[in-house]
């Protein structure tokens, strides 16, 4: 055996998994800001226009800007909820199988919410 073959193998530590933690952490905060801005805007809009009838209520969500803003809000909410719900599952559910099932159900539920939201805003 040559000396080169006995060299210790190059070793790199991978102490954590897929390195998505920081990105998720940051996006959770960015989506929070989007939602906070939308919330203030929506509440102001309701307070100013005071929708009391069906046509008035419908008018609020009829403009392209309102639709896009609402969709952006809902999409942010769903990503935010994904991070938060996954945090809860990671904290309290230890068995890997159950955790996977729960995370899958949460993901599918959120996807359903997203498609539903789009169809509410642009459907009919």
């Amino acid at each position: 055996m040559s000396a080169a073959a006995r060299k210790p193998p190059r070793y790199r530590k991978h102490p954590v998994g897929a390195h998505y933690g920081l990105g998720d952490w940051l996006l959770q905060r960015l989506t929070a800001i989007v939602m906070a801005v939308y919330t203030v805007g929506f509440v102001t809009c309701i307070l100013v226009s005071k929708p009391a009838t069906f046509p008035q209520w419908k008018a609020i969500f009829s403009g392209t800007f309102a639709k896009l803003a609402t969709m952006l809000f809902l999409a942010s909410l769903l990503y935010h909820a994904w991070v938060g719900m996954r945090d809860i599952v990671m904290d309290y559910v230890k068995p890997a199988g159950l955790r996977l099932v729960l995370e899958l159900s949460i993901g599918l539920t959120l996807l359903t919410y997203l498609i539903w939201s789009a169809s509410i805003l642009w459907g009919r």
Binding site: R29, F54, W57, A81
Partner: protein, 130 residues
């Protein structure tokens, strides 16, 4: 392998009473509980309400009638509170992230402010809604 001497089982005293948490702890656990409740069932209920109330005038009036009932109003107040608390607690966390009020005392004060603001906002929202 020789068995290592088993350490004597020591008693554990967990204080699981949430009311014994300091204010920042109460804000934290309420942030989590309200977040879970907002994911389910509040969000699907809101989407359902939005879906039906925008679909036809008849359904709009049905929702208006439903929301005017006493017990439903109480549920609505609870939803407002969850949303308001999650909102204000979230603002507090965003500020803590950029080290605003990160010291123990201001963090404690802001936690109390968040608890009060959440309740007050929910009450104002409910009052304006009816």
């Amino acid at each position: 392998m020789s068995a290592a001497p088993q350490p004597k089982a020591r008693p554990k005293y967990y204080d699981l009473n949430l009311a014994h948490l300091p204010p920042p702890g109460i804000v934290s656990i309420l942030h989590r509980i309200s977040g879970l409740a907002l994911f389910f069932p509040i969000l699907p209920l809101l989407l359902l309400a939005l879906h039906q109330s925008l679909r036809s005038e008849v359904e709009f009036e049905q929702w208006r009638e439903l929301l005017s009932r006493g017990p439903v109003k109480l549920v609505l107040l609870g939803m407002f509170w969850f949303y308001a608390h999650h909102f204000w607690a979230g603002i507090r966390y965003l500020l803590l992230d950029v080290h605003v009020g990160i010291q123990k005392e201001p963090a404690r004060t802001s936690a109390i402010v968040v608890l009060v603001l959440g309740a007050v906002t929910a009450l104002i929202a409910a009052w304006r809604f009816w």
